[in-house]
């Protein structure tokens, strides 16, 4: 523990903690809605798209990859949402198609046109997050804080509407709520969170940050508000523990956070057997 506190003196460590906790928190807030709306597959598909976009960005040698990756992922989120609601095209098949294509083409692009000397390392860190502590510039940290705050504020402002649209979309529509608009909002926010989270845990593991807190909270609590609040607490705790362990033990950040999430989930499962409130 003392070792950990001495690490806190380094700005890099503080940045990593701030960013990690904020991203986990944002992912968990939307997670409840995603899991309940059976939207979690969208998150999964999108993370592959983000990988493809990342590959394009690195092939183009962009200095700030975010400016390409973010819009591209948002556009795909909207597309996936639309095709998913079009009864004629099988939504999940369409998503599987888009996501596998993005994964394959992304790797192909990096392999053929890539200039980097350490291709395997690059691919691996895009998929699974950086192997050691993430090195972030102050500007990146600021961007992450700004986006996270926006996500949190939007979530709080639209909390009641999101609940209604999630619980019973037809009723919400019938009473004049623009449910299509909120679905769009949800899709855009997920896309943003996924792109942010990619730096932290990599594109394959980001879904874990979305689903584990929600599923764990649902083991224990039975009202929407409590589930939401608990999953936020769960996410922050696991992110903190995961990052702390990864710093002390030198393990990869992303998988350590996810491991903490898995452990937390198992604990909640156990607790759910004995206590239900």
């Amino acid at each position: 523990m003392e070792k950990f506190f001495s690490y806190l003196e380094y700005p890099i460590v503080r940045y990593a903690l701030i960013v990690g906790i904020l991203i986990s928190l944002c992912a968990s807030l939307l997670g409840v809605t995603l899991v309940l709306k059976r939207f979690s597959f969208i998150g999964d598909g999108l993370s592959h798209v983000a990988f493809g976009a990342m590959a394009i960005a690195s092939v183009l040698n962009l200095t700030d990859k975010m400016y390409l990756v973010l819009p591209l992922t948002v556009v795909c989120a909207v597309l996936i949402l639309w095709t998913g609601q079009n009864a004629k095209i099988k939504g999940d098949a369409a998503i599987a198609m888009i996501s596998v294509s993005a994964l394959a083409l992304g790797y192909l692009l990096m392999n053929v046109f890539g200039t980097s000397a350490n291709l395997a390392g690059d691919v691996c860190s895009t998929l699974f997050g950086s192997t050691s502590i993430i090195t972030l510039k102050l500007s990146e940290v600021m961007l992450c804080i700004v986006i996270s705050v926006i996500v949190i504020v939007v979530f709080i402002l639209f909390y009641n509407k999101l609940f209604s649209v999630t619980f019973d979309e037809n009723f919400a529509k019938a009473s004049g709520t623009n449910s299509q608009g909120y679905n769009l909002l949800i899709a855009i926010i997920i896309a943003v969170i996924i792109v942010l989270g990619m730096n932290l845990v990599g594109s394959l593991l980001i879904s874990a940050l979305v689903i584990f807190p929600a599923l764990s909270a649902m083991r224990l609590f039975k009202s929407f508000r409590r589930v939401t609040v608990f999953s936020a607490i769960f996410a922050v705790t696991c992110a903190f523990l995961g990052i702390a362990v990864s710093i002390i033990a030198g393990t990869p950040v992303g998988s350590t956070i996810v491991a903490a999430d898995i452990a937390g989930f198992l604990i909640c499962c156990l607790a759910g057997h004995f206590y239900a409130g």
């Binding site: 209604s164 009473s175 508000r225």
Partner: protein, 227 residues
């Protein structure tokens, strides 16, 4: 001017007509029962009235000061996921959403309204319970309370008593009758012709032959058919 006037309405999915030439009017204070066989298009008609889907042809005119977001709705089957965590209070309160507009949070009056409607439906004691752990009859009351939060003008109920035992069914009919007496206009889908005839003021029969009339006329016609 009536609340709802449907003229030569055709309803269906993707151009496939389920019911056509449906005309009827609903005035303030009416209690309309829609009856018809399974698959005759009752739910489809109701969704069209709600604006959840467009009519294939014909038109629905709303009047008498009824706004689109002043309709309360009780779905036939709420496909609520088995594991959805939501308390009774949260669900009933969500009926007030149409009153919020762009305002993010509920006002005191809206919370009070939710409480009042829970009392009216006799589910006050259940307000912190989890919806999915309630019995079918209790769940219907919760959804009815939610619909009441959305409006005091017009309720659309899609088979509100399906799956309920005879006692609870009778209670449910009493509740709906009381609401109607309090001035709430009711449009209800039902398979139970006996109760439809007992409580409704108008009957709309859809299917092969479409028939819309006041109850007395309907009874008369059915008797003629029976003889």
């Amino acid at each position: 001017m009536s609340y709802i006037e449907a003229k030569n309405l055709s309803v269906g999915y993707d151009g496939e007509v389920v019911g056509k030439d449906i005309s009827f009017t609903v005035n303030k204070g009416d209690y309309l029962c829609i009856i018809g066989d399974n698959g005759s298009g009752k739910t489809t008609l109701m969704k069209t009235i709600l604006g959840l889907k467009k009519p294939l042809s014909g038109e629905i005119i709303m009047g008498d000061g009824l706004k689109k977001n002043e309709i309360g709705y009780l779905p036939q089957q709420t496909v609520i996921q088995k594991d959805f965590p939501a308390s009774v209070k949260e669900i009933v309160l969500s009926g007030c959403l149409s009153k919020c507009g762009m305002r993010p949070f509920y006002k005191k009056e809206e919370k009070a309204l939710a409480l009042e409607n829970m009392k009216r439906m006799g589910i006050e004691a259940l307000q912190d319970k989890c919806y999915r752990e309630l019995s079918g009859g209790q769940q219907q009351r919760v959804l009815l309370a939610r619909a009441l939060c959305a409006t005091e003008k017009l309720l659309l109920l899609d088979e509100p008593v399906s799956g309920l035992d005879p006692n609870v069914t009778a209670e449910m009919y009493k509740l709906i009758e009381q609401l109607n007496k309090d001035g709430v206009t009711i449009i209800m889908i039902s398979h139970d012709i006996e109760s439809a005839v007992k409580y409704a003021s108008h009957i709309l029969h859809i299917g092969e032959n479409i028939f819309f009339a006041e109850k007395a006329q309907y009874v008369e016609k059915m008797n003629i058919n029976l003889n």
